[in-house]
Amino acid sequence: MDNFFDLVPLVVMIPLVGLLINLFAGRQLGERGVSIVAVGASGMSFVIAVLLWIAQVNTGYEAAVIDMPILSDWIVIPSANVTIPWAFRVDTLSVTMMLVVTGVGTLIHIYAVGYMHGDERFPRFFVYMNLFLVFMLILVTGNNFLMMFVGWEGVGLCSYLLIGFWFDKPGGVGWKNSDAARKALIVNRVGDFGLVLGVLITFWTFGTLDYYREGEAPIAHHAATDAEAPLFAPTLPGEEETHAVSGPLGVFNQAELWLEEGGHQVNFGMVSLSFETTLTVITLLFLLGVTGKSAQIPLFVWLPDAMAGPTPVSALIHAATMVTAGVYMMVRANVFYHAAEFSSFVVAVIGATTALVAGFIAVGQWDIKRVLAYSTVSQLGFMVAAVGVGAYAAAMFHLVTHACFKALLFLASGSVIHGMEHGHHHVSHGHSGHHDDDFDPQDMRFMGGLKERMPVTYWTYLFGTLALAGIIPFAGFWSKDEILLDSLKTGVDKGLLSGYVGFVLLVVAAAFTAFYMWRQVSLVFLGKPRHAAAAHAEESSRLMTWPLIVLAVLSLLIGFINVPSGFPILGWLLGEHQFTSFLEHSVTYAHAGTFSFLLATFAVLLALGAIYLARSVYSDRVLATLREDPLAINPRTQRAFALSSAKLYWDEFYFKYLIYPYRNAAYWLAEQLDWRFWHDYVHERLLRDPFNAATRALSGRVDKQVIDHSFDGLGHATRRIASRLRRIQTGYVHIYTMSVLFGALLVMILILLPLIRDWLGL
């Protein structure tokens, strides 16, 4: 079974092949061909992920490091003794991520086939989507921080390309789209800067970037067995393997060893820091990267705007996979975070605060996707906070469940938008005089009563909502409950402040979650249609509803993979904390949560209470005559709602104190340096004119004649060669006999090459 780990490069290569096919032959293939290639590539990646998973199970969860055959020496600087191989890591953590990325990715690809139907840049869309898969899978399968960084940057690029996918939409929308894309890119640069620095310091400290070397087992001492167990067991399991590896250890085991020794100093030229301090610096820098990619305070502002992209993109990149990369990275680096207590505290506070703030803002939004976007930010806050309180398994668990139900919610919202657009189309064609330029298919004020018009979407949406709100037995209940319980336990058992802070903030955030989700369900689906478009909305095509149904079922069932220990009946029926046990093989400090009946009841009652509250605020009577949000009218909640609606003036704050000053400086530089010197002189005189001439020649000759025809030409050439070969096949026995003789001659010459070489004296 070990052999099947060697499949892992295929996980990346297959989408790569898919995107290349679509890139070069997208136009020839047509919509159907493109979708078959793209969905097929994604699906095959999923199949391989499943195979890897099976292999993991069969080999007793041993991690494997697989070199890419061609790129095995990716970066080698012999003089500095630097070797960074392009190596894949198959362990339970990466397999989990592969399954999520490719599984949810495939469903979304299928959905996107329906959603993007008729778009003029259909092939390009799927090229980007597959490209995203490639980078995301590099990110999660790499065995060193540099590969993670490559993937990290790559997914950022895809995110940028896809947010701005409709950059040319008329009516000002296009501008907004490309602005949103740029905003995402720029904000993420800030985070990436932190990540780069973190990776560089890691390299400086350890001399390598590998997580673990090949054949090296994590030095494991599970906190799960005993929270108070000594951190370092006297004899390390997997010691034999560790010693079998020559050369330096991977970063995590090296860190463990240095921590155990104590007193290791890291020399940074003039300053020398203790190893613990270095780890704190590294983890804080990583955290900066996380706040960018996973949209945490203070860098979360890009994510809500990123919803300008097509809905499948929002679901895949900005809800299910890319934004969870930060969480994945911190779980991967759990050894660092476990050791760096201060960083963990910061992580917990940032995560919990983000969860609460985003939950609060979500209440005041009208755009259906924007609500979900803030909800995503909030849920990512949950995960980050879980990492902060040391509940790495819970964080990953929530990542998995969230990927399912949030993808579901986004896709369902896409279906709603599709339905609304369809309805609007119907209406404006039906009554030629009827015009309303204010109409926005994403604005919930125009919706209502879609329950009857779009039953599949409604029911699946309901499943997603209940899962997100944390109602038992939906997936969200299990994962959220585990995070809450873990934070509380961290506070009580270990006496850490982060636990208490996290717990209180997260409980409130959970209440907000249930509230804004039910508000959304009420506004969109319940009551009566408030606009003609809603009244004429139609259910989406089956290509779009099938993924919804699959995801809805997953949202219901996926939580059962990690039933907490001590849960009556289910724990016995399905096995206790299966998922955590699975992860423990690669996440050193993963530990299982026990079940607290009291807390679970409290959380469910809180969610139900919030839903009840939302139901009473947005009652049918209110919905029928909705002009303003009831919370905005009520004097007691007026100000809070305004604050929420204005997103806490976060963007404005950035504009006033960061962007304008920065821009003024930039203007000056641009005016003097760029325009006068660079543009006028260097660019135009020295570069532009010769370049223009070259381009004209290239575009005329090369592009049109060579590139365009090359693909057709390849096909023709293949056929021509083939038919020429066929002509040799005549059917006459003596010619065949001759060919056998010829062949024998060939074989003789080939096999006697050494002799012939001797003769010729070579």
């Binding site: 052999n3 069969n58 055959p69 070969l725 040799i728 065949y736 060919s739 010829f742 062949g743 002799l755």
Partner: protein, 504 residues
């Protein structure tokens, strides 16, 4: 040694699957005389019974459940009963079982329902089994003839029809020609080493290499001629020309069987002779066997030519003929990899796994061709697959599985076979040929998937009929293809005991 040979000297028990089947085949031939012409299903049933028993006898030692006889050698080392021969036995017996299933209705339809068909099938199966178990070049030659001659006759089984007779004659003449090369090769090897048994050859080669004796060239030529003779059997380029003509002309049920069985025999012998007997034949202080370059070049040629010419075929049987040429190329990669001594065992395993996967897939694909073929052997064009998915969804789905497997798409047996072969090639540092293999696999997708396209995306009136034993064969083949693809460890567990090495 006592002058009087006794049965216990023979270690006859070790040859149980083969000796049982040989006896059974002879008995069946006599029993068949008493089976009336209208009730040949009795003969067919008895054939399947015998094959089934032999299959069980072959599976038992492979699964480690039982071991027959005393040690691996029988008949003074002429017969080797190890995991490799067990693997070969299992593959060819499964193929033969499927072959009988696909043949029964077909023979009825072409009105050639005769008991000899089944006897000949059993004899040729015996030949393949002997090739897998051969411990001596003389046995290889005799077994090869036992494998070939019934196949020549079976190719002409549809006798009044000209195409069938012509194909039999072509196959016979060219086959005899190739056998000549084989015998010549054996003679030269004997001349160079003074022995014909593999272990003796191995020891002699060791000596020749150590002394750098001048007989090394004689040995090389011998190996080359052997390669010609066996290369013909497995349809390797440039000895492949007979394949399309014979496959097209011969009765489809025969082709279904022989496209796999002849390959199993040929590759078993190639792996035995080259990978086991001459694996240490490294010249000039090299680490890999001197014949390796030749084999991998032939493999590359075979893959390239087979796949390219398959693209333009418009007849299903011809297309599958070229496809089988191409697949011979992939298996030859495994043989070539066996030329690096450290990889030899892995390569032998890879070849066995590939053959296993190929057996299910290819017999299945030909069985589908039988289903769409008309009684007068027409309607085997590609267009006969049009609209099959509408008329016969299960048949089309099976065909799609076979095509995916032949292409080597994951979750099918074909992928696993290719995977292991390429892996062995990479382990043997034959990266260029592995690359050629991957690229040609991509090309092969073009014509395999075109069939799938025809079945699912084009409308047409297909006229497939799937009577009972044929339906069994197709479903067994499809299930086998999927099963081996989804649970690859079935294959790897089956073969993990295979070792070929002689000496220390």
């Amino acid at each position: 040694m006592s002058g009087v040979p006794s049965l216990s000297d023979l270690n006859l028990a070790a040859t149980l699957p083969v000796s049982f089947l040989a006896l059974y085949a002879c008995l069946l031939m006599i029993v068949d005389l008493f089976v009336p012409r209208t009730r040949k299903h009795i003969t067919a049933g008895l054939t399947m019974l015998g094959l089934g028993i032999a299959l069980v006898l072959a599976l038992l030692p492979l699964a480690g459940a039982a071991r027959f006889g005393d040690g691996e050698r029988a008949f003074g080392g002429m017969y080797i009963a190890d995991s490799f021969s067990d693997g070969v036995n299992v593959i060819v017996l499964i193929t033969a079982l499927l072959g009988v299933m696909v043949a029964y209705n077909y023979l009825d339809r072409i009105q050639r329902q005769r008991g000899e068909y089944y006897s000949l099938l059993l004899f040729t199966t015996l030949g393949v089994m002997m090739m897998g178990a051969a411990g001596d070049l003389v046995v290889v030659f005799v077994a090869l003839e036992l494998l070939s001659i019934p196949l020549y006759i079976l190719s002409g089984f549809r006798r009044p029809q000209e195409a069938s007779e012509e194909s039999a004659l072509k196959y016979f003449i060219l086959g005899a020609f190739a056998s000549g090369f084989l015998v010549y090769g054996i003679a030269l090897i004997y001349g160079a080493t003074g022995v014909t048994d593999f272990e003796g050859i191995w020891a002699a080669v060791e000596e020749i290499v150590a002394e750098d004796a001048s007989s090394k060239y004689l040995l090389l030529v011998g190996a080359g001629l052997l390669l010609v003779g066996l290369g013909f059997k497995v349809a390797a380029v440039p000895f492949h020309m007979w394949t399309p003509d014979v496959y097209q002309g011969a009765p489809t049920s025969v082709v279904a069987y022989m496209s796999v069985a002849a390959k199993v025999g040929g590759f078993a012998a190639l792996v035995r002779v080259l990978g086991s007997g001459m694996v240490n034949f490294a010249l000039d202080g090299g680490l890999v066997a001197a014949w390796q370059d030749t084999v991998w070049l032939i493999a590359a040629l075979t893959m390239i030519l087979g796949n390219f010419v398959a693209i333009v075929q418009s007849d299903l049987k011809r297309l599958l003929a070229y496809s089988s040429i191409a697949h011979a190329g992939y298996m030859l990669i495994g043989v070539a990899a066996a030329g690096s001594a450290p990889v030899a065992d892995e390569a032998a395993r890879a070849v066995i796994m590939y053959l296993m996967a190929y057996a299910f897939t290819n017999v299945g694909a030909f069985a589908v061709v039988i289903a769409v073929e008309r009684d007068d052997a027409s309607n085997t064009g590609l267009e006969s697959m049009r609209g099959l998915a509408v008329k016969q969804p299960l048949l089309a789905a099976s065909m799609a599985i076979f095509m995916f497997s032949l292409t080597g798409i994951p979750l099918t047996a074909g992928f696993i076979g290719k995977w292991f072969v390429f892996k062995a090639a990479i382990a043997a540092d034959l990266i260029p040929v592995a690359v050629v293999g991957v690229l040609t696999s991509l090309i092969s997708a073009f014509y395999y998937l075109r069939i799938v396209w025809y079945m699912y995306f084009e409308s047409g009136e297909s006229e497939a009929h799937v009577p009972v034993p044929l339906a069994w064969a197709i479903s067994i083949a499809a299930v086998g293809t999927l099963l081996l693809g989804i649970f690859p460890y079935l294959l790897s567990d089956m073969t993990h005991k295979i070792t070929l090495a002689f000496g220390p």
